[in-house]
Symmetry: C2
Subunit: 418 residues, 2 copies
Amino acid sequence: MTIENEIEIIAKNAREAALHTASLSASKKNDALMAMAYALETEKEKIFSANSIDLENGKKNSLSKAMLDRLRLDENRLSGMASGLRDVAAMPDNVGEVINMKRRPNGMMVGKMRMPLGVIGVIYESRPNVTADTAGLCLKSGNAILLRGGSEAIHSNRAIASVLSAAASAAGTPEHTIQLIPMTDRKAVTALLKMDKYIDIIIPRGGYELIRFVTENSVIPVIKHDKGVCHVYIDRQADLDMAWEIAFNSKVQRPGVCNAMETLLVHKDIAARFLPTMIRRFGEAGVEIRGCEQTREIAREVSLATNKDWDEEYLDLIVAIKVVDSVEGAMDHIANYGSGHTESIVTNNYKTAQEFLAKVDSSAVMVNASTRFNDGGQFGLGAEIGISTQKLHARGPMGLDELTSLKFIVYGDGHIRK
Amino acid sequence: MTIENEIEIIAKNAREAALHTASLSASKKNDALMAMAYALETEKEKIFSANSIDLENGKKNSLSKAMLDRLRLDENRLSGMASGLRDVAAMPDNVGEVINMKRRPNGMMVGKMRMPLGVIGVIYESRPNVTADTAGLCLKSGNAILLRGGSEAIHSNRAIASVLSAAASAAGTPEHTIQLIPMTDRKAVTALLKMDKYIDIIIPRGGYELIRFVTENSVIPVIKHDKGVCHVYIDRQADLDMAWEIAFNSKVQRPGVCNAMETLLVHKDIAARFLPTMIRRFGEAGVEIRGCEQTREIAREVSLATNKDWDEEYLDLIVAIKVVDSVEGAMDHIANYGSGHTESIVTNNYKTAQEFLAKVDSSAVMVNASTRFNDGGQFGLGAEIGISTQKLHARGPMGLDELTSLKFIVYGDGHIRK
């Protein structure tokens, strides 16, 4: 059997499951989620031993320390996965919700009803906890899921998926609701991306190469979870104490994630007062600084940023700093180099704040707040499947509602069109 | 210059325009829409003479009578286009609307703001009025538009687009807000579909071939406006008078459009009472009937439907009829052969109605109403750019809101993440 045939069978089984998963009752889904959480804990040894194979292989293939760390599962991370599933079980069921029901002039009632998307394919790299998080959210929102993790985590992912799938089935969800693509061959991904007959949406989470490959090869609609080149702009009318805190928090609190700041923009009129303290605080926290010419006039010790720095997602204790002439200059820089993820302005000027909010075109735009808040939990969505950087369907954190679609429903009384 | 270079320049100009179109005031946009409507009327001779070239060519290329009719512009249709633009001008501006603004436990305010999508590419066939309708809706929602009509209407489309674009510019909208791709070469479409750097969304409106070509070649997100294989299901507990009216209206009121019924499903317990009158009424209206074996047992004069009939979009006075065992049988048939467009049940049974509404997965699902109501105007959205048959972003009629995206906005007060 070719790899294309194998993938087709997997995808077809998912479609078949989705027809039934869509109408599972809330209590059935919650029972399954609780059973999945419990199974992760009771079968942890199986998962840890699969994980240790991946870690061994990772060392052999000289994965970076950071990548090995992301790959590693321990008691703490496993119980995080389990409690994530329990949190999802505790959230309200959103399938079947009816909104905007209104009476039309002819007496017909028209509204929208929330439905699962159907079959969701998630293609991701590295972190094996994604396997449990996405499976939980997709099941809760009534979808079937096809998981395709990175080859470096294949043993961990296989173990987690088989534990979850068995627990969900035993609790009464349709077989094939949760499936992992077991092949590591890239051909499997290419084949998957052609299965628009069976799969409704593809979510790629990972680096530039992965996202580009998926976008170019998919005939299925894609929701990109792309990189975050996030900006904080310190306006000339910023409160300096607040500005130091927000810039520091945006960069340092957790530098390895997509909503961390990568470039700090500073209004020229405030740069000489703002930058010395900021640069000292970054220095104390071990942050490497790459500045524009004007930054270096204020702080000679800073190394010179090249053009490449402006669109780089460091995901590390590195920051690029640029002095700009105005809020327009800041917005132009963001439009040219940003990735449409998260941008924040620090200002006490009403008009400047409103202009920045209205004009900057990113998944989250903030006034006087750290970029680190662009997160499903922080925004009140509950758990998230990731942060969408595109404009269609879902923008910013994707929670349960973003894994559904709204169809129109009509209650008539013999209505015909004249 | 290659065709790819030419398309890149057009797309880049659109992106440049979109940055400014996004922040046009409502009054500026409405002035432009009124000027566009006026220009269509004052320059009608230019448009009619271009249209007559297309009609001549159409006759030479032996286009069908129906296609020639769709291509033809007259006083009536032109004034319909103009009044469509004036209707869009009268609608409220939706750009900048803020929804769901809520205070988080930490005091931070989080909500969503409506933004234009940016640059919208519309690829369509035949009807030149689409050129004016889509240009008006895209401008009102703050977007730049790239229009690519069919080669059979190229002279009409060029004339309409140049009249609209000149009027909009004169009224103060950015140059290149409304552009038509002037080349008829298919390579132009292929090149367009690769311009994800400049174009945010592609909407294909047309037949299967066009939609498939776009889906397979686009690296830009696509919203399909696919065919409508719409069903009416007459339940065993239907009110027969209502059932005859709804089935007749769904098929006959305007058979050439996507929300017309193509297949009539009838519960076996009611078939013998329902079908004879229905078939007589269809016959009187000139409707050709293709029935299943059971239908033919009731009405011998009906020709036998083949498997091909069940997924055919006739767009004509032809109907397929199938007798089913139960509402489940009807829903299975719809899931197997429907195109996810519009389905209606006629029943007085509460439970059956609710089950049909909840389980059928189409852009509009109705009880006791004609399928012909799946329409932006009828649903209260105002004008529509078409009817989306996919699940992501927009499902069913796409109005102004569906041409926008929602970004998160945050009002903080020095908030940092702990």
